[in-house]
């Protein structure tokens, strides 16, 4: 009989993470970076996760782990976009118009959401787009309930300022 490789952690086959969490991570990323970049961010998220996967020390909260990676990828994408916009505003606008007609996410509010600091953006998306309680927002972000509450209210304050402007 073949012997089992002994590992202390029993990680599920990676495909199961994809099957279980791709749809919700996609939704998170659409709200975080807009539909134009969401799919690429989603692939980047899973690739980064796959790279680190065998080194994980525990299989406790894989979902929160995936969300923190997605949050990081979203921040990278937002930064990339900001740089592109600064260097070639017209070209970017044209591409977006061509590939994503009638995009509700391109209006002012979602552009402002993208401009928020990473944690505030993620906290707002978890709290309102997913309609989560603060405790669950914290759990998905790997922060305390109190920190989740603070990030949401700081994000809202900042958004209000921008929207009222």
């Amino acid at each position: 009989m073949p012997r089992a490789v002994s590992t202390s952690v029993h990680l599920p086959p990676f495909q199961r993470l994809v099957d279980d969490h791709a749809a919700e991570l996609h939704r998170f990323l659409i709200a975080s970076v807009g539909p134009g970049d969401a799919e690429d961010c989603l692939q980047e998220t899973f690739l980064s996760a796959l790279r680190a996967y065998p080194r994980l020390r525990h299989a406790g909260n894989l979902r929160a782990w995936l969300y923190t990676i997605a949050q990081r990828k979203a921040t990278d994408a937002v930064r990339r976009h900001r740089r592109n916009r600064a260097s070639d505003l017209d070209a970017v606008a044209e591409v977006r118009l061509a590939s994503q007609p009638h995009q509700p996410f391109d209006d002012g509010l979602w552009t402002s959401v993208r401009g928020l600091p990473s944690k505030q953006r993620a906290a707002l998306v978890h709290r309102f787009v997913f309609d989560l309680a603060y405790r669950d927002v914290g759990e998905r972000m790997g922060i305390s309930e109190e920190a989740a509450r603070q990030n949401v209210s700081a994000g809202l304050r900042r958004l209000r300022k921008e929207v009222d402007r």
Binding site: P2, I30, P35, E39, L42, F128
Partner: protein
Amino acid sequence: MTDLEQQLRGAPGAELNRKALTTALAKRAREAGLLDVAYAELDSPIGELIVFVTPRGLLRVKYADEPVEGVLAEVASRVSPRILRAPARTDAVRQQLDGYFALRRQRFDLPIDWSLVRGFAGGVLRQTARIPFGHVRSYGQVAAGAGSPRAARAAGNALGSNPIPIVVPCHRVLHADGGLGGYSGGLDRKRYLLALEGSLPA
């Protein structure tokens, strides 16, 4: 609730194209050297099969009688958890199995990854892999080929845990008196495969 919160709650969703995601992920993972195990479900005349392929070769063929979760978890813990559904990576296996069942092919020409096999079982299964299409051997004969002529029963156990049925043709091993012996996929399948090859004992 403020207007702003209301607007945030109203974020439109979007359909995720799962098939495109799976394809893109498998391709990028492979290019990055992160695809340790690729798998896919295949149809065959004796039921659905799940096949697993590593960069070294064909690792596992499983009759899909039970939910796929069990065999996925087994491969994850014994080989690597970096497993993705990647039908493109299993194309060669699918084509050769199709050819075999259609009697266009008598020999599989596939690299084998023996990672799931150890010790005596490895010797027995390698012996078994050399039995040609349309031929049969007894348990005692493959045991002898593996260096232990008296270990027919152990050979039976090794064949029963063959991780790569059909391609490593454990169905070609029978009792010395012509009795069918056992088969991990059930005797109906063993009978089907032997009949396909024209070697089902009368």
